[in-house]
């Protein structure tokens, strides 16, 4: 297939989109669905700002996967973490513990952090390091990012 309609389930909503084989999942999220929370960064899969969740709540790099692979699949983006305008605990923790500075990598970092918590609600230092090794946060140096995740892991809820 070079071009065709696929159904993508994003944050619980079904979208029918015309997609070409030339699109990555990121191209569709930003270009077609106008979900601008997920960012385009290094385009080589090494910075992690494009991170979204697959149906298992695992972190995947949306810039490194062809859009057509996701026909019929469920994806969660940063916009899908909050519930009725109420931020998820990890999002609240990022604000409270100052794990956000310029904010450009933040959606990708938060999705990566949430994926760690999805896998292990009480993550160890190793879990956090492993789960965040795929993102770069220049501003925070990852230090308060790790602290925010630790706190959510310890207390289970937001601050």
């Amino acid at each position: 297939m070079k071009k065709g309609f696929i159904t993508l389930h994003v944050n619980g909503d079904a979208h029918e989109v015309l997609v070409s084989s030339q699109h990555t999942l990121l191209d569709v999220l930003r270009g077609k669905l106008k979900l601008m929370g997920t960012k385009e960064g290094c385009t080589t899969g090494s910075c992690g700002v494009c991170t979204v969740h697959n149906s298992r709540g695992e972190a995947v790099l949306s810039c490194l996967t062809p859009a057509l692979e996701w026909a019929g699949q469920s994806i969660t983006t940063i916009e899908g973490l909050e519930k009725n305008g109420r931020l998820a605990p990890i999002q609240q923790a990022f604000v409270a513990y100052h794990a956000v500075q310029c904010g450009f990598c933040t959606p990708g970092v938060i999705m990566s952090a949430q994926a760690v918590l999805n896998l292990t609600p009480a993550p160890t230092e190793e879990d956090i390091n492993d789960g965040l090794a795929g993102v770069i946060c220049r501003c925070t140096g990852h230090i308060k990012v790790k602290e925010a995740i630790r706190k959510v892991g310890e207390f289970g809820v937001g601050p």
Partner: protein, 756 residues
């Protein structure tokens, strides 16, 4: 620390006021913006390090359906990027990646295809792609005006260096090198230009300072500054990398003018390494003269910069001269610097600037001097460090200076005395010190202005042009205004990031944000408060200055905060003004410019101790801990300050140990965030923060900068720690495993101990 009760907002650990938007994906960055009819621009870049352009044929590209503009120098021959530099290459190309032509099309793929259709004929010429080669006597001369490829020189003597060296008991010389480095900020370069209306150029782009962009673009396109509008709501990191407009900004504007539509140009992952114009290969020779008892007589630095193919940012050349004066009492200072042309990307600056990488070498050199004297390096720094009130040879004044306190505190907290010289082999501890100006007068003024209005419901709107690139400037400005007006930070709305709307502000660089804009905001808030106080004071029959503003209330000093009829909530007070006889809509304005003719009013200082472990087999380094003390005047928002220290310690250690653009014939071999190495989560050291508050007399609430001072200190501390671990100065950064192995092997082969 301030006395409890003196300040109610300042000094609070304040989470970002725009945090909700940032963590939920609502914050809009430039690439998120799509304008009606927007086209996609791409730049055709030179594949050669040096060549004559024989011909350019854009006809096939123009004919491609969907292409709306194709430009080369022939279409805009008078368009200059700088005095000596046409925007699009004319006659010659001088580096791989130089901008030769550009296209705008309805679709990114069409734009890419159009680039392939532009036919350029080149005659390849001999190039010089390294500093070493450029300086050789038989090297090709790259520009007709630069004999020996030297673009610019800068020489400064303060005091009498020759006499001071002659009077020294000991003179030590060391050499050092730093490589091409880059800023891997999160948001890649992007510019969205709308020049549809020839009288108004609008540019959406992340920037550190709108005025410099406005002025440069206005000059190039024959406009007045105010005919250029820069919109920069959210800036995805800057780190000294977005201070000047770069060619892609001008090209986006040109394409938009020609096509009659908005045009967006966005860097691809590797193109960003060219667009960014980071720091170039630099060579240093440090020479220091001391007395036998460890007093500094003379400091000298000789620095040779690879400027790249065009000398785009000459300021870098003369910056080290004042810096050498900011830390120590010394009899004389000498600086010699030169910019050298090479056939590579024009160089600029990156995180830490020249001070950071200079420190990585200079601090090792001074450590070497201390060791030759048999002195503890911390003692050496303390003995020579400046005090508050110091007047330096270059004319700088330091009203507040906590340098000695910073040194004392990190020495104590890190256990320095028990460790220095006593660690097991290949464990190292190192100390670095540094300073940074809080703003500086390089031009006629260093002005920031702010406007503030209070709505009848008590909500305050603050108009400020200071960008928030992550450092939290907007939150701090809200805290300052809130403190003055006696309200809460969340009562302050910030309107910023649009040069059409906000008052003049040079921007956030040279670490002027907190200091200069903070002062302007404070003045604006004080102005508004004075108006309100005048009305309330008249109402209550007291002087305006007898009123207190705090905790969202206004009351008479000495009386109860909630005295009935004698006190009001802030909102009630505003109502009195607005609904009173005058019907006054309270607005405050403030403008701050340093009263100094040149230089800075205030300087921050820092000292850090780093501890590392080197694997003698593999040469790998692990940073164990960094103890960081910084005299920032006053921590307006300690939470944000910690975040700054974190990011700068991370970046500083990264540059000393990992970061390097590997070059091959003028091309960067590792232009990606994968191969341009940065540490990540596993490599983070423990960081201990010590905030030293000297309460500067000129800063808002005594605050000075903290936005780039710490990284300079980190680089010296980490470099020294590694040198300590391996037993001698490491003459180059980054200290990669293979470079350290060379030092380790050399010492083993000569029977030298790892650390003596």
């Amino acid at each position: 620390m301030s006395k409890p009760g003196d300040l109610s907002v300042i000094g609070r650990r304040q989470p970002r006021l725009d945090g909700f938007d940032k963590v939920s994906g609502r914050s809009v960055f430039t690439d998120d913006i799509v304008l009606p009819g927007m086209l996609y621009g791409r730049i055709l870049r030179s594949p050669h390090a040096r060549a004559r352009i024989l011909s350019i044929d854009t006809s096939k590209a123009r004919a491609l359906p969907g292409v709306k503009a194709v430009v080369s120098n022939a279409d805009a021959p008078d368009l200059l990027f700088s005095d000596k530099q046409p925007l699009l290459a004319k006659g010659f190309v001088h580096y791989v990646g130089e901008e030769v032509a550009a296209v705008a099309a309805t679709d990114p793929l069409i734009a890419e295809a159009a680039l392939d259709l532009i036919e350029v004929e080149y005659e390849v010429l001999p190039s010089v792609t390294s500093l070493r080669r450029a300086l050789q006597p038989d090297a090709p001369q790259l520009h007709e005006w630069a004999t020996g490829n030297v673009a610019l020189t800068h020489e400064r003597d303060f005091g009498d260096p020759d006499a001071a060296f002659a009077a020294s008991d000991l003179v030590i010389t060391d050499e050092f090198r730093s490589p091409v480095q880059h800023n891997t900020l999160a948001e890649l370069h992007v510019a969205l230009a709308d020049f549809t209306n020839p009288d108004k150029l609008q540019l959406w782009t992340p920037t550190q300072g709108a005025p410099m962009y406005q002025m440069a673009l206005a000059k190039a396109f024959g406009l007045e500054t105010s005919q250029v509008r820069i919109v920069y709501g959210n800036v995805g990191g800057a780190f000294t990398g977005r201070g000047r407009a770069k060619p892609h900004h001008f090209i986006a504007a040109l394409l938009s003018r020609v096509a009659g539509k908005p045009v967006k140009i966005k860097a691809t992952g590797d193109e960003e390494f060219i667009m960014f114009r980071g720091s170039g290969e630099t060579r240093y020779r440090f020479r220091t003269g001391v007395t036998r008892d460890g007093r500094l007589k003379a400091l000298e630095a000789d620095v040779t910069f690879d400027a790249g193919a065009h000398a785009e940012w000459a300021m870098i050349l003369w910056l080290p001269a004042p810096y050498l004066n900011w830390l120590y009492k010394v009899d004389a200072v000498r600086y010699r610097g030169r910019f050298v042309y090479t056939s590579t990307v024009p160089k600029g600056s990156h995180h830490g600037g020249i001070f950071g990488r200079l420190s990585a070498g200079w601090m090792q050199h001074l450590n070497h001097v201390a060791e030759e004297l048999g002195m503890d390096p911390a003692e050496f720094h303390l003995k020579n460090a400046i005090d508050p009130g110091h007047h330096a040879l270059d004319g700088s004044d330091f009203a507040s200076c906590g340098l000695k306190e910073c040194i004392d505190r990190v020495v104590e907290r890190s256990g320095w005395k028990a460790k220095y010289g006593k660690l097991p082999p290949y464990r190292g501890i190192g100390i670095g010190i540094g300073a940074q100006a809080s703003g500086g007068k390089n031009a006629a003024n260093d002005t920031s202005a702010a406007l503030l209005k209070v709505a009848d419901d008590g909500v305050v709107t603050l108009y400020t042009g200071i960008p928030d690139m992550g450092q939290g400037s907007h939150t701090v400005m809200a805290m300052i205004a809130a403190e003055v007006l006696g309200v809460e930070p969340e009562d302050i709305r910030i309107v910023g990031g649009d040069s059409d709307i906000t008052p003049f502000d040079w921007g956030a660089f040279s670490q002027r944000g907190t200091f200069t804009t903070g002062n302007a905001v404070k003045l604006a808030a004080e102005d508004a408060r004075a108006q309100l106080a005048g009305i309330i004071g008249t109402l209550l029959g007291v002087a305006a200055t007898d009123l207190e503003f705090a905790r969202r209330r206004v009351w008479v000093r000495g009386e109860a905060q909630d005295a009935p009829g004698r006190s009001f909530s802030f909102r009630e007070a505003i109502g009195k003004a607005f609904n009173g006889v005058q019907g006054l809509a309270i607005m405050g304005r403030g403008s701050f410019n340093s009263p100094r003719p040149s230089g800075s009013l205030a300087y921050s200082f820092g000292a850090q101790v780093a501890e590392v472990e080197v694997d003698p087999e593999s040469g790998a380094v692990r940073v164990l801990k960094v103890t960081a003390a910084h005299d920032l005047g006053r921590a307006l928002n300690p939470l944000a300050v910690e975040g700054q220290l974190d990011g700068q310690v991370f970046s500083g250690m990264s540059q000393v140990l990992y970061e390097e653009c590997r070059m091959d014939g003028g091309q960067i071999l590792n232009p990606s965030r994968l191969e341009y190495k940065l540490p990540r989560t596993y490599e983070l050291p423990e960081v201990e923060y010590i905030l030293v508050e000297t309460i500067d007399p000129y800063g808002p609430f005594g605050a000075k900068e903290v936005g780039e001072g710490p990284i300079v200190v980190t680089m010296g501390a980490v470099a020294n720690a590694v040198a300590n671990a391996v037993g001698e100065m490491v003459p180059q950064i980054p200290m990669t495993p293979w470079r350290l192995l060379r030092v380790i092997r050399h010492r083993r082969n000569h029977g030298l101990a790892p650390a003596d």
